[in-house]
Each structure stands twice: as structure tokens, then as C-alpha cells.
Amino acid sequence: MTTNIRGLPGAVVLERFSAWFGSAPALHNIDLAVRPRSVTALIGPSGSGKSTLLRAINRLNEALPGARSNGRLLLDGDNVYEPTVDVSELRQRVGMVFQRSNPFPRTVFDNVAYGPRLNAGLKGRELDDAVEDALRRAALWDEVKDRLRENALTLSGGQQQRLCIARALANRPAVLLLDEPTSALDPQATQRIEELLYDLQPDLTIIIVTHNLHQAARVSRRTALLVDGVLVEEAATDRLFTRPSDSRTEAFITGRFG
């Protein structure tokens, strides 16, 4: 199945991918093919390597001391760890949203305009359109269209998180990575983000790390379980949560460990 997915635009494929921080192994020989145009959830106990795997995709781990990796990680069929790869270009194609929303302390407009201005050199009308388009896709436009010149930090927590999603979308990424994007949000704001992910998946490869199993079950089409840096099981979400194949998955999702 891996070979089928590998050639698809937006597919993220890990082949015998391992990662270490210093001498401590964080990911061990991961083989995983993430389907494009769908949401894949990464679940697992704390310290299982979920976030490390997510951050490996846009090479964010290498900012940490002692980080190294082995194996291949393909995006659109190309290994993102080739020395010729431009990391900042990679990060435009692979957007990321974190647990705590982190808007720049600038206006709402400037937050979203940052990428298109810098990377695509857009200005004037084109820039306005790009910002509006990204805010609409992030389901935020109606709430902020009259507040574009206000400081982004005046928005609510849920709005700030959607602003961060809009900021990532403005770069027209192929992949969107989300690391616990709703863990600081109330249920209503959480629901808006989950609906947003559902709406975005026709255009994007979305990978979400979540501690909330029910969120994983709600938002994703595929779910992967990591335990101690090892990929235990990856399957259709409906199957994994009702009839998992691996006894460790069974134990984890029924709360018998982790």
C-alpha cells in the first residue's frame, strides 16, 4: 500500500525512519504512509514519539541539540532530508500549528500576510485577496473582517488558534501539521477547529497529534498508534477504535495502559 500512496501529491511517507536525541532513541524504524487529502491522527502515551514524528516532517527537530535521524521521509516522493532541500521552503509546504496559539504581536492582517508577503512577494490587492482567502478557509473571516487592523492578541483563544491555521494556509501548504491544537480550548472552540479540519481535508494532508482519543476518533480517517517510539498500528479510524488488530492498541484505547 505504501508504494501506491508514495507517488501521490501531498503524500507523506516514512521509510525505516528513526530519530534520536543524543543517545536516546525517539523513533524506531517507522514505516508509515500518510494519505493525502485526509486527516491522520497520531495517538500514543506521553513520550511515545508522536510530536517527534510530527516535527520530523518539517525538520523542526533539528533545532534541538543532539537531534539526528536515519531513514527516509518523503514528501511528494522526495526525501526531505536530502542536503539540497531548502528548509524554509519545506516549512512553507508543511505548515504547523502548535498547542498554544502563537500569533505574532501584530495586527490580524499582518499575521496572515506575513507568509505571502515574504515568500510570494504579494502586495496591494493581491495580498488583500490572499489574506481574505486564508481567513475564509480557516473559518475566521466573518469574525475578524472588521478587526483586521487590531492586534491579534485581542482575539479569543479559539480565534487565535484559527488565525494560526490561516497563517499556515496563506503559504498554500501541501501538508498541515497540528500538535494538540485544541488542548487549551473550550469545547465550543474545539468543535470549530474540528469542523475546520473536516472542511480542509479535500485540499490538504492533515496530521494531528492528540491526547484526546475521542478527538482522534471524531476528526480522522486514519489513526496511527505510537508506543515507545515504535509504530504499533495504523488503520482506518473506525476499525482501529472498534476492532484494533494489535493487543497494545486494545490496551491503550481501553485505558489499560498509558
Binding site: I5, R35, A236, D238, F241, T242, A251, T254, R256, F257
Partner: protein
């Protein structure tokens, strides 16, 4: 696998209570079937009436078991085996309640036969059929409570024998009725009894299938192809 963490202990305590409820229901359902057939064979009207009255208790237990399972689904949102158990428990309690209804049907036949005061054809196979149906019910419940898929499948196999018995009782009674029109009324009652016992065995088979689903995650009902992909698990590829 480590011990159950504290947060889930409550859930597992509740599961134990629900299992006990199902076992109680099963014990009652089996004994109602036994009593109803005894009432029939012994032509004991009082025993038959006792079965009809005792069925209410089974109805009450079904509602209790179902409410408990629904509350656990809503509050604990279980997954995998725990989820399969609760869905199964709801179906099992409904099946056991229907076993009680079949015992009532048999008891009503017994009452009518007593009231008809006519000679009743002897059908020795009925007692044996009742014994088999009860054994199937008991095995099916064991299979479900212990999550024993092999035992669950065995119940389904035993059902073939009960179906064959029902068929042969039907033929024997038909021969009686053709030979002597006087026997038509009581024979029809006995046919109903046989039919109700056959249904009890079918319900035991359902419970056995639920045990297989619980244990193995496989649907074996209606020769359903368990590995056929469902629309939601299709790939984008």
C-alpha cells in the same frame, strides 16, 4: 500489560455489575423455559401461571441492564473491546427478555391444553429439545461473559440440531393430525411449543454470535463477509 489505572477502575467495577445483571437475567430466562415445559408436560396450570407472572421481573431486568449500558456508553465513551461488550450487552439483554416471552408463550399453551381437557399426543422429543435450548442459552451466556469466541461458534452449530428436532416434531404431529382430527387442537399447541423452543435456540445463537464479535471483532451473522471494506475505511488511493 499493567494494572488498570485508577481512572478506569470505576468503569471496570460497573462492567462487573452489568455482567452480573446479564447472568441473573440468563438464569431467570433459562429457569422460565424449564418451568414452562414442566408445566406443559405435567399439565400443571399453577406452574404455567407462575411463569407468566414471573416474566415481568425479566422485563424489569432488561430495562435496568439497558439503562446501565447506555449510561456507560454516554459517560465513559469506551472503545474497542469495552465498546463491543456494551453494544453486545444491550443486544443480549433484549434477546434474554425475548427468551422470557417465548417461555410465556409455552406456558400459555400449557394453560390452554389443561383447559381443553382433551387427550394430548405424547412428544418425548419436546423435553429433550427444551434441555438443548437451555444448554445453548447457558453456553452462549458463558461465551459472552468470558469473551470465548470458540464457545460462541459452538452454540451456532448446536442450533442445527434443534432446527432438525423442530422439523421432526412437526412431521410427527402432522402425521397424528392426519390420522385423527381429534388431535388437531392439542397438536397445534404442541407445534407452537416446539416453534417457541426453536426460537429460544435461535436467540441463544444470536448471543453466541455477539460473543464472537466481542472476542474477535468479527461479524459472523448472515454469513457476513467480515473482511469486506466498509465505505468509511476505503482509501483515497
Amino acid at each position: 500489560m499493567r494494572d488498570v489505572p485508577a481512572g478506569y477502575r470505576h468503569f471496570h467495577d460497573e462492567l462487573a455489575v452489568l455482567k452480573q445483571r446479564l447472568l441473573d437475567m440468563s438464569e431467570r430466562a433459562e429457569s422460565l423455559v424449564a418451568l414452562s415445559v414442566e408445566a406443559l408436560l405435567e399439565r400443571d396450570r399453577d406452574k404455567a401461571i407462575a411463569v407468566i407472572e414471573a416474566d415481568e421481573e425479566l422485563d424489569r431486568l432488561e430495562v435496568e441492564a439497558e439503562n446501565q449500558a447506555i449510561a456507560m456508553l454516554a459517560l465513559q465513551q469506551p472503545m474497542a473491546r469495552d465498546l463491543r461488550f456494551l453494544i453486545g450487552a444491550i443486544k443480549v439483554s433484549s434477546d434474554l427478555e425475548r427468551v422470557g416471552d417465548h417461555a410465556v408463550n409455552i406456558a400459555q399453551c400449557a394453560v390452554r391444553l389443561v383447559d381443553q381437557r382433551t387427550a394430548v399426543p405424547t412428544v418425548p422429543a419436546l423435553a429433550d429439545m427444551a434441555r438443548r435450548a437451555r444448554a445453548m442459552l447457558s453456553d452462549a451466556l458463558d461465551a459472552f461473559i468470558r469473551g470465548d469466541g470458540a464457545l460462541g461458534r459452538a452454540v451456532g452449530k448446536a442450533d442445527d440440531d434443534v432446527d432438525a428436532q423442530h422439523e421432526s416434531i412437526f412431521r410427527a404431529l402432522l402425521a397424528d393430525m392426519m390420522g385423527d382430527p381429534q388431535t388437531i387442537a392439542p397438536s397445534l399447541e404442541l407445534l407452537l411449543v416446539s416453534r417457541n423452543l426453536e426460537r429460544v435456540a435461535d436467540l441463544a445463537t444470536n448471543i453466541g454470535e455477539d460473543a464472537v464479535y466481542l472476542a474477535e471483532g468479527k461479524q459472523i451473522r448472515h454469513r457476513y463477509d467480515e473482511d469486506a471494506p466498509t465505505p468509511s475505511s476505503n482509501d483515497a488511493t
